[in-house]
Symmetry: C2
Subunit: 455 residues, 2 copies
């Protein structure tokens, strides 16, 4: 519960439709896609920098956690009010401040949807590369909080590669301005990228300057089906060792394929045990060669078929349904987001299968293999404590394997609360302490999203 | 002078050929391309992480400045021992630790030359995009210190876009490991990019994981000559408003052209007052269209000629000689590195001409206009105090203009000592204080490159 005097203060500053305290209203802001539930004590919907400053000052004064959130599509619990406090919903700060095609820039408030930026950019033959599955619903602010990626990151990189500058308010209520409006700039330390991926623990982003990329003239889709995992992973390694990058390289294992089959009878070959969805983009003239190169790299004795497909939309649609479909198979999924070097994917996926068998945990894997980024899903019944225990042990070994292979625990989801117990596997104590000290600089009273990201 | 007991300590740890104290030996490490002279009290050439740790600990103990340097090609004074102390030359840490084409990665020590990385990558059909004019002589460590760019940054970005991870030693002697080995990763704060561009003020980079890029199959060169500045800048704006980016877009003003004419008679049309050197790259099939698009964007009543050129090498050679040639014209150049949004280039260059006329300061401009990055050179006689004063006033107004146009003071050279007096024009006091606090975290005793980067 918030102190009554704080509620009174906030009531004088915010109209009722931008300040929720009724638990029923607040409940909508209690969860994200991690499916954990932590109701906030209140929800605030600021519209201006000054309002956010005022809220931060009050939270410092009353020592109340402030948990920024976009649209709650994150999967790692990054926007959950675990310790109670105020959910700061940025979803109503939806102004696109500048559309400047001559300088290839859009300046935006944090609550604008990723899709809105795509649509706006497209009018000028540009796009903004980060494209998480949730693009239609997630906000730019949330994308910045996790350095969101998506299928096209293999060619275009993630959010941190496409933000030129940020305006933000630190945990002390100070307004900072980082980066610049141009594609080059080395004046002062790079605080822009320090904020990107910091999951709302350092500052509240109030404005971002986004760098636009040329919309490809032509996109071609290729699918490849394999009789087994090994032939598929060897094709992945061959594709990625070609200098020219595909614009997407998505992998689906047999479990993922079965899920799609259940909803799209006849869409996939019956004997396919592993599938690649591949996209190449560029000018119309270069596409045929690019497609031929990919088809050649797919060749293997255990290839079922590799072919160019005309209707990529239905494939992407099927791919995008995977995450929600997993909910049908098991009451709970432990949804991971690991990355390993591409050349180690064969070893990783083989050992993953062994681990899943040894611990008897159902396991479905798919993801952005061009970056070595696999969404490993452990499917469990949370009401079976023995199974939960086995899954936890299995997960621990998966993370150890990832680190052994010189990989990283999260490619695009972030740490939030879900993965913080494992961060020390990757970050050494000295580097971790430095990160904690940086957090203290930005937010000395630990007001902003307390408890997240760190173990 | 160093305390004798420190010299004794270092003598026991370093052989004489890796520890210079003789002023004659030290003098070679007294300058960089800013042409200022600040002899260090000693020069150390470490070979290992442990040696650097040991040096940092001693410098803390004796409160002695430690100034890291690569090959001293920087232009902003970033590697000068202004306050005396020890020059830490990383030039002998020249191991390439890993060449891993399957994962598109090279791991390297800081003293490896940019050109060596290019040559190594090329064997596997890759390249490393940052390509400063000094590529043949400058080190990867120095490139990281300034987030070095170069002509190809317009398409490929600067150093910060191509480093995946760093090992470094902070000012407290602590070893930190940032980033990862894969192209995606969001575990913890992005300390990699915090270090990139920090000019050796936060930590000494001992190892960097570089992300490789596909070597373009084909490169085509185009030159365009214009009767006046206005027609040239309007062509720049048109070229950059096309979605597809050129791989280089270099501008030379009439002063720069005259310099080249003096050494390459007949190379350039006599009536050219502004020139663009343009490169497009890609597959052989897409090049003709790309060239046609650029040629079309160059059309203007005051265009003299725009044409594809076969021999781009001699042009690049002429372009690369510009910086040294400036030394012939005037005893001193004030060499700036400003960036403005591309659409404001016409206004910027017009007003720059007016300022140069008003203050009667000879002025030669060229640079990477695709990024809006202009090397503004004010040519003066340092023995004429009245001229020096006029130049300083002129420079101050140039920087004000850059900021008014939403630009930045440095695109790729960094701040060092040369530009620190102007940093406050761009960075507000709150953000600056945060940067200073970060410096204190990494280097509480202000041992590493003291006095640089901040006003």
């Amino acid at each position: 519960m918030l102190p009554p005097s704080l509620v009174t203060d906030l009531c004088t500053q915010f109209p009722a439709d931008r300040f929720y305290t009724d638990p029923v209203d607040c409940y909508s802001y209690a969860y994200d896609n991690s499916r954990k539930i932590f109701p906030p004590d209140a929800v605030l919907f600021p519209l201006t920098v000054e309002e956010i400053q005022s809220i931060i000052k009050l939270c410092n004064q009353y020592n109340i956690p402030l948990i920024p959130r976009g649209r709650g599509t994150g999967t790692a619990g990054g926007s959950l009010p675990e310790q109670g406090g105020i959910a700061l919903s940025l979803e109503r700060m939806t102004k696109i401040i500048t559309v400047d095609p001559a300088n290839r820039v859009i300046v935006t408030e944090p609550g604008v949807l990723n899709q809105t930026i795509q649509d706006t950019a497209k009018q000028h033959r540009f796009f903004w590369p980060p494209d998480p599955s949730s693009a239609a619903y997630c906000t730019i602010g949330g994308n910045i909080a996790t350095s969101a990626g998506g299928p096209h990151a293999v060619k275009y990189g993630t959010t941190r590669d496409h933000v030129l500058g940020i305006k933000a308010i630190t945990g002390t209520g100070d307004i900072i301005k980082t980066g610049c409006y141009t594609t080059k700039g080395v004046v002062g330390y790079d605080l822009t990228r320090l904020l990107i991926g910091s999951e709302g623990t350092l500052a509240i982003v109030t404005e971002a300057t986004l760098k636009l990329t040329a919309l490809p003239q032509t996109v071609a889709g290729i699918t490849a089906h394999f009789k087994d995992l090994t032939s598929c992973t060897s094709a992945i390694v061959r594709i990625m060792s070609q200098p020219q990058l595909p614009s997407a390289l998505e992998f689906l294992d047999s479990g993922a394929l079965n899920l799609i089959r259940g909803h799209n009878a006849g869409l996939l070959p019956t004997d396919s045990k592993a599938m690649l969805m591949i996209e190449v983009d560029g000018t119309a003239k270069e596409i045929p060669d690019a497609v031929a190169t990919i088809l050649k790299a797919c060749q293997h004795n255990d290839l079922i078929e590799a072919k160019q497909v005309q209707d990529t939309a239905s494939l992407w649609k099927a791919r995008k349904t995977l995450s929600p479909l997993l909910r049908e198979v098991a009451p709970k999924k432990i949804n991971e987001d690991i990355v390993v070097p591409v050349s180690t994917l064969p070893e990783f996926l083989t050992k993953l299968t062994q681990l899943s068998q040894r611990y008897q945990i159902a396991n479905v894997n798919f993801g952005h293999v061009g970056n070595g980024n696999i969404h490993v899903n452990l499917l469990i019944n949370p009401d079976n404590p023995e199974e939960v225990k086995r899954a936890e042990k299995c997960l621990d070994e998966i993370f150890d394997l990832v680190i052994q292979l010189n990989g990283t625990l999260s490619g695009e989801h972030g740490i939030g609360s879900e993965k913080r117990a494992f961060v020390s596997k990757e970050i050494d104590p000295t580097t971790m302490q430095l990160m904690k000290d940086i957090k203290k600089l930005f937010d000395p009273n630990n007001i902003l999203n307390p408890g997240k990201l760190f173990p």
